[in-house]
């Protein structure tokens, strides 16, 4: 008995929804329905829990009761079905089953429909009779059943990983260099604008274009001094650059001195001034990277990044 219940659910005959439902028929047998259930749908109490677990809620249980008796949803004798449903619920409550709230809610609703069917239907304010109290139940049963069937149909579709498999073959090991991201100058400037705004540098500094050239010159001079040793002060100036160029170089040297990055040395008065980098040589991988850069064909013939100014 216990195992026939889910069996019956699974083999419930499909409704011929496209057949014009002849509504005059009281109960139509549609398809072959194998059910061993007696008319009163008696189920032994020890099977009730199993029975209830096979249902997806009160609508599913109601549908089962209807289908088990070969009834059309549209023709259901609501009083009878309600009676059966309430009997189940009563038995289950008597046996202290932990009934989900949905089942009790449905029981209350069915009870309400049943009692309203016994009374004359009241007319609404517009003089039209209220709709049959069964109509909403039928609508919900129909609506649920169509999705229950849709779910069965989806389950019947071939499913990847269960019924069929995607075909794959070993791919050759071929690596392609990844293109680094491209950045536009505008993005860089926007980033700078942000950081400057955050640092609130607008108010406290007024950095001119000349200062920038000076910064560039500072890097250039540091490059020239790379490798250590003393360099003649005058060698850091390029006369061809004119007055402005010389001034920029001079300011760059002063700034480097101020930042403690270079030393100016004069052994005696009026002797030549020599310059030495106080910064240590970059060593290790970092330097390798920098030199790798210098060896690039694009950078051929230049000793540093900014020496062609």
């Amino acid at each position: 008995m216990t195992d026939t219940v889910p069996e019956t659910t699974a083999t419930a005959a499909p409704i011929a929804e496209d057949a014009p439902a002849s509504l005059t028929a009281v109960a139509r047998v549609k398809g072959e329905l194998v059910t061993t259930l007696p008319d009163d749908l008696y189920i032994p109490p020890d099977a009730l829990q199993v029975f209830l677990d096979t249902f997806e809620g009160p609508l599913d249980l109601l549908l089962y009761l209807i289908r088990a008796q070969n009834l059309d949803i549209l023709d259901i004798p609501v009083a009878k079905i309600t009676h059966q449903y309430l009997e189940y619920i009563e038995v289950m409550r008597a046996l202290n089953f932990d009934l989900a709230a949905e089942y009790l809610l449905m029981a209350a609703w069915l009870g309400e429909i049943k009692s309203r069917l016994l009374l004359p239907r009241p007319k609404g304010p517009d003089g039209v009779e209220e709709v049959d109290p069964r109509a909403e139940l039928i609508r919900r049963l129909q609506e649920y059943e169509r999705f229950k069937r849709a779910a069965e149909q989806i389950d019947g579709l071939p499913c990847e990983g269960r019924d069929f498999f995607v075909a794959a073959a070993m791919a050759p090991d071929y690596r392609r260099p990844v293109e680094p991201p491209q950045v536009e100058l505008r993005e860089l400037l926007l980033a700078l604008q942000d950081v400057l705004r955050r640092a609130d540098l607008y108010e406290s500094h007024q950095i001119s274009k000349e200062t920038l050239s000076m910064r560039e010159r500072m890097s250039g001079i540091l490059d020239r001094l790379r490798g250590g040793g003393f360099h003649p002060f005058v060698s850091l100036f390029v006369v061809e650059e004119g007055r402005l160029g010389v001034v920029v170089s001079f300011m760059a040297i002063l700034e480097l001195v101020k930042e403690g990055l270079i030393d100016l040395v004069q052994t005696e008065s009026f002797a030549d001034i020599h310059v030495r980098a106080r910064i240590g040589d970059a060593q290790g991988n970092d330097l390798d990277l920098a030199e790798l850069n210098d060896n690039e064909p694009e950078a051929s013939g230049s000793e540093g990044a900014f020496d062609d100014a």
């Binding site: 496209d18 609508r139 579709l157 071939p158 069929f164 075909a167």
Partner: protein, 186 residues
């Protein structure tokens, strides 16, 4: 490039990908300006489908493009490759999935209204993890509940090209019609 070379590239890419590739993805295999046009690619795909007719794998068009897949009638043998037998999904999960597929976008409480029972969080989580459903947005009602919709993966995994390929939903009569019928019979 000869047509045969072109076909070998498309064939190799589809097998190497192990998933469906769209026309655009196939075109992206080639250098800029050297990709075959959509028409040529479709002709190649049709030729490939012919080549594989009757073989153990076949070329299948799904929502996200074309892919090679193992013929479903050899599935029972092939599935033995994996220790874990593919599980069947619970009715609760399938009904929830069906409601999302046919009624999308839909909220959880709308699903619960139709099913008449609450939808467990575990089911929603499983469907999201399987990438069969996604949160398509939020309904502008109190609580802003998530609106669920199906994904392209859902279509792919069920061999569908679009939602229109889903089995038709059974038709139902609306409330007024039902009420009228009930009245007539009394």
């Amino acid at each position: 490039m000869t047509p045969d070379e072109l076909k070998a590239i498309v064939e190799g890419a589809l097998f190497a990908a192990g998933r469906a590739l769209s026309i655009e993805q196939l075109q992206a295999l080639f250098e800029e300006g050297r990709a075959p046009d959509a028409g040529s690619l479709k002709a190649i795909l049709a030729a490939l489908a012919d080549d594989y007719a009757g073989r153990g794998v076949q070329l299948q068009q799904v929502a996200s493009g074309w892919r090679f897949q193992v013929r479903s009638d050899v599935g029972p043998w092939v599935s033995r490759l994996w220790e874990e037998r593919p599980q069947r999904y619970s009715r609760a999960l399938l009904e929830t999935l069906a409601l999302i597929a046919y009624r999308q976008p839909i909220t959880r409480s709308e699903i619960e209204d139709i099913r008449g029972v609450s939808v467990s969080s575990q089911i929603v989580k499983t469907l999201l993890e399987r990438e069969w459903i996604r949160v398509a947005g939020h309904k502008e009602v109190p609580g802003r509940p998530a609106l669920f919709a199906t994904t392209r993966s859902f279509l792919d995994d069920f061999n569908l090209q679009s939602l229109a390929d889903l089995p038709a939903l059974a038709s139902i009569r609306d409330l007024d019609e039902i009420a009228a019928d009930l009245d007539r019979k009394q």
